[in-house]
Subunit: 121 residues, 2 copies
């Protein structure tokens, strides 16, 4: 697969809210996930797909998604970017806001080895 193939599949799965499948199918076991800022009580960097699954689970349990859009992918060599915009409620604070961010993904041997999220804190 090319980086663009991986990128298109990523966007397809995320649009279908198939986050677990996305991690299983497209992420390297030693993939790294880096946030622009640390979520409450967490580190900015999550190492390994098992830990990323844990972060994804935490996110799904603490947020309600009312709607949103996934724009992309935008490839460049072995990386691709995706623009996310989600209307969500953070349940612990009952706070509704728009999550506007860019994800930057690095692909190696047909797997995503790094995801980095860009946003204003």
């Amino acid at each position: 697969m090319s980086t663009l193939d991986v990128a298109k599949r990523y966007v397809e799965l995320v649009k279908e809210h198939k986050n677990a499948e996305c991690l299983n199918e497209l992420f390297a076991s030693d993939a790294v996930s880096v946030e622009a800022g640390a979520p409450p009580g967490q580190e900015r960097t999550t190492r390994g797909v098992d830990a990323i699954r844990g972060k994804s689970k935490w996110w799904n349990e603490t947020h309600i998604v009312h709607g949103g859009s996934v724009d992309g992918p935008f490839p460049h060599d072995d990386r691709f970017a995706v623009k996310f915009s989600f209307d969500v409620t953070f349940k612990p604070e009952n706070r509704r806001f728009t999550m506007n961010e860019v994800g930057l993904f690095t692909v190696k041997d047909d797997k995503i080895v790094k995801e980095e999220f860009f946003y204003t804190q």
Copy 2:
């Protein structure tokens, strides 16, 4: 200035179509610009702000901008991303299309030292 200050100023100047001021004020003299793909007759990588000015001049002379949007900035450490969407006509071919891309910018010592453009070719 922080990376976010540079990023906000970049977006402000680009929204005002002040591309020359943007290059003069925010780019390091040895900044590098990398396209996802090479424009016709050009290299993917442009080295130095003078050469980037040349690329910018070529772009302005060969495109008509009918409208568009600049979304961001989205910061992450010493980098920031910007989502561009421009409705343009490429004059040499009289071809109108939507230019949808993400720019990734790296900041060092308050100056942009690298810009990378992500898009489908």
